[in-house]
C-alpha cells in the first residue's frame, strides 16, 4: 500500500515537473525561433526609424546596459553595506525590526510605485525631465531592498563556528566580516545580484515613467541627461505605439534579444561559482 502510494506520488511529481519544463522550453523556443533567424548586426547596432521599415535597436540596447550598469553601481555598494549592517551591527530592538519589515515590504512593492517615486523626485522636484540618470537611480531604488535582504540573509546563513574560529584567532569584527563572512556568503549574494540585474534589465514601468520612451537617437550616448529608452521599453513601444510597417518583426527580434541577454546573465553570474566548485573537485 505504502509502496503504491509512493509510486503514484513519484509519478505525479515527475509529470508535473515535466509539463512545467516543457512549457518553459516551448515558450523560450517560440520566442527565440521567431526572432533569431532574421537578426542582423544592422538591427542590433542600427538606429531606430520612426516611419520607414528597417530600423534598429542600437541606442535602446546600449541604454539597457548603460542604465543597468549605473543602477548597479549605485545599488550594489549601498545594498551590500545595508545588508552587512543589518546582519552584523544592528541592535536587536523595535526600531530595527521595523526597518527590516520596511525593507521586506519594499522588496515586493510593484515596480510602478518606484516609477512614480522617480517622477516625483527627478522629474518634478529636480526638474530634470526624463533622463538616463533618473531612470538608473529609480532602478537602483527598486533593487536596493532586494540586494539588502539577500545580503543580510546570506551573511546570517554563515555557520557560527566559522565566526567563532575567526574571533578565537584574534580577528576583529571587521576582519571577520571581510575575510570569513563575505567570502562564505558571496555565492548567495551573487545569485541575488544576478536576479536583481535580470529584473532591472527587463524592467519597463520604471523606465517609461522616469527615462521615457525615446532615445537621443545616436549611438554610444553616455550623457546622463539624455532620454533613456531601454530595450524592454522599446519592445513595448514598438508593439503598442509605433507606426513603422515592420513593427511586428522588430518586436519579435527585440524579444529574442532581451530573452537571450537575461539568460546569458544567469549563466555568466554562475561562472565564478562553477570555477570554484571545479577547482575544489579537481583538487579533492
Amino acid at each position: 500500500m505504502n509502496r503504491l502510494k509512493n509510486r503514484i506520488f513519484t509519478i505525479t511529481v515527475w509529470t508535473v515537473a515535466l509539463c512545467v519544463i516543457l512549457f518553459v522550453f516551448a515558450l523560450l523556443l517560440l520566442i527565440l525561433e521567431r526572432g533569431f533567424p532574421s537578426l542582423t548586426w544592422d538591427f542590433l547596432f542600427g538606429l531606430p526609424s520612426e516611419i520607414e521599415e528597417g530600423g534598429g535597436i542600437g541606442p535602446a540596447l546600449f541604454n539597457s546596459f548603460y542604465m543597468l550598469f549605473l543602477s548597479m553601481v549605485i545599488a550594489v555598494p549601498l545594498g551590500i553595506a545595508a545588508g552587512i549592517y543589518l546582519a552584523e551591527f544592528a541592535p536587536d530592538n523595535a526600531w530595527i525590526a521595523m526597518v527590516r519589515i520596511c525593507v521586506e515590504g519594499l522588496a515586493s512593492v510593484p515596480s510602478i510605485i518606484f516609477g512614480l517615486f522617480g517622477i516625483a523626485l527627478f522629474v518634478e522636484m529636480f526638474q530634470l525631465g526624463l533622463t538616463i540618470l533618473g531612470g538608473a537611480a529609480s532602478l537602483a531604488f527598486l533593487n536596493l531592498p532586494v540586494i539588502t535582504r539577500v545580503t543580510e540573509e546570506a551573511i546570517r546563513a554563515v555557520p557560527r563556528e566559522w565566526r567563532h574560529a575567526s574571533f578565537a584567532l584574534g580577528a576583529t569584527h571587521l576582519q571577520t566580516i571581510r575575510r570569513v563572512l563575505l567570502p562564505a556568503s558571496m555565492s548567495a549574494i551573487i545569485t541575488g545580484l544576478s536576479l536583481a540585474s535580470g529584473r532591472a534589465f527587463g524592467e519597463s514601468a520604471v523606465i517609461i515613467l522616469t527615462a521615457g520612451v525615446t532615445t537621443s537617437g545616436v549611438m554610444w550616448d553616455f550623457n546622463l541627461l539624455s532620454p533613456g529608452e531601454t530595450l524592454a521599453v522599446h519592445l513595448w513601444y514598438v508593439q503598442s505605439e509605433a507606426i513603422v510597417p515592420d513593427a511586428q518583426q522588430i518586436s519579435q527580434k527585440s524579444a529574442a534579444v532581451l530573452l537571450f541577454i537575461v539568460l546569458a546573465f544567469n549563466v555568466v553570474f554562475r561562472i565564478p561559482a562553477w570555477v570554484r566548485d571545479f577547482r575544489i573537485r579537481k583538487a579533492a
Partner: protein, 251 residues
C-alpha cells in the same frame, strides 16, 4: 611549577543564571590541565572565560579576576584581540574555514599583519608539523580544508591555532567528535605540545584525562569540587562526590 593563569573569586552569570561560583585556581604553565565534570557544570564556560569568548554571548557578566602572566585579562586597558592571539582555542566540532588548507593556517598570521609569502610558507609548514599533519597534506596545501577527514580537520584547527604562536591552548572536548585513532593522535600531540604550551582541556572521557593530563579539576554545578595532581585525583580522591563521579556512579 610556575602558575601562568591565576583565577581569583571568579563568578559568571548568564543573565540571572549563576554559571560559575566563586572559582579560584592556579593553572601551571607548560603542563596539561584537564577539566572534568557532568554536563552543564560550567567547564566550557570557564574555558571561554580564559579567552573572553563569553563576551560574544549577550547577557553575560563576569566578576572576579583572571590573570594570565600577571595581566588581568578583564582589566580596563586589555586588548581582547591580542589576548585571543595569545590564548588559542580548539573547538568541539572541527571548524576549518571553507578555504584551502594553506589559507586556513595562514589566516591568523595574515590577520596580524604578516604578508610575506616566504614567511607565511614557513609558518604554515611549522604549524602543520607541530600539529602532526604536515606529512599527510604537504602535497596538496591548495586543497579545500573541507575535503579532509574529521580527525585531519581537527589537527588542522590545532595547526591554525598554533600559527599565531599562542602561549595557552584551550581545547574544549576536542576529540569527542573523532574516531579512536584520531583521538589517540591528538592525545599524543597534546603530550608533545605541552613542552611549549600551557594546555587546558575539557573532556568527558575520564580515561583521556587520566592518560594525558598533569592535573585535573573536577567541577559540579559551577563549583570546583576538587583540584589535584591527576594521578592523585584518580587514585585517591579526597571528596566523596569526586569518587562517585570518576567511578561512574553519577553524571
Amino acid at each position: 611549577m610556575q602558575a601562568l593563569i591565576e583565577i581569583e573569586r571568579l563568578n559568571l552569570f548568564y543573565g540571572s543564571f549563576h554559571a560559575l561560583k566563586n572559582i579560584s585556581m592556579d593553572i601551571p604553565e607548560k603542563a596539561i590541565t584537564a577539566f572534568i565534570g557532568p554536563s552543564g557544570c560550567g567547564k566550557s564556560t570557564l574555558l571561554r572565560s580564559l579567552n573572553r569568548m563569553n563576551d560574544m554571548i549577550p547577557g553575560t557578566s563576569t566578576h572576579g579576576s583572571i590573570k594570565i602572566a600577571g595581566a588581568d585579562i578583564y582589566g580596563k586597558d586589555i586588548d581582547v584581540e591580542a589576548l585571543r592571539k595569545n590564548v588559542g582555542m580548539v573547538f568541539q566540532q572541527p571548524n576549518p574555514f571553507p578555504k584551502s588548507i594553506y589559507d586556513n593556517v595562514a589566516y591568523g598570521p595574515r590577520l596580524h599583519g604578516i604578508t610575506s609569502r616566504h614567511k607565511l610558507d614557513e609558518i604554515v609548514e611549522s604549524s602543520l608539523r607541530g600539529a602532526a599533519l604536515w606529512n599527510e597534506v604537504k602535497d596538496h596545501l591548495k586543497r579545500s580544508a573541507l575535503s579532509l577527514s574529521g580527525g585531519q580537520q581537527q589537527r588542522l584547527c590545532i595547526a591554525r591555532a598554533l600559527a599565531v604562536e599562542p602561549d595557552v591552548l584551550l581545547m574544549d572536548e576536542a576529540t569527542s567528535a573523532l574516531d579512536p585513532i584520531s583521538t589517540l593522535k591528538i592525545e599524543e600531540l597534546a603530550q608533545e605540545l605541552k613542552a611549549k604550551y600551557t594546555i587546558v582541556m575539557v573532556t568527558h572521557n575520564m580515561h583521556q584525562a587520566a592518560r594525558v593530563s598533569n592535573q585535573t579539576v573536577f567541577f559540579l554545578n559551577g563549583e570546583v569540587v576538587e583540584y589535584a595532581e591527576t594521578e592523585k585525583l584518580f587514585s585517591n580522591p579526597q571528596d566523596q562526590r569526586t569518587e562517585d563521579y570518576i567511578s561512574g556512579r553519577f553524571g
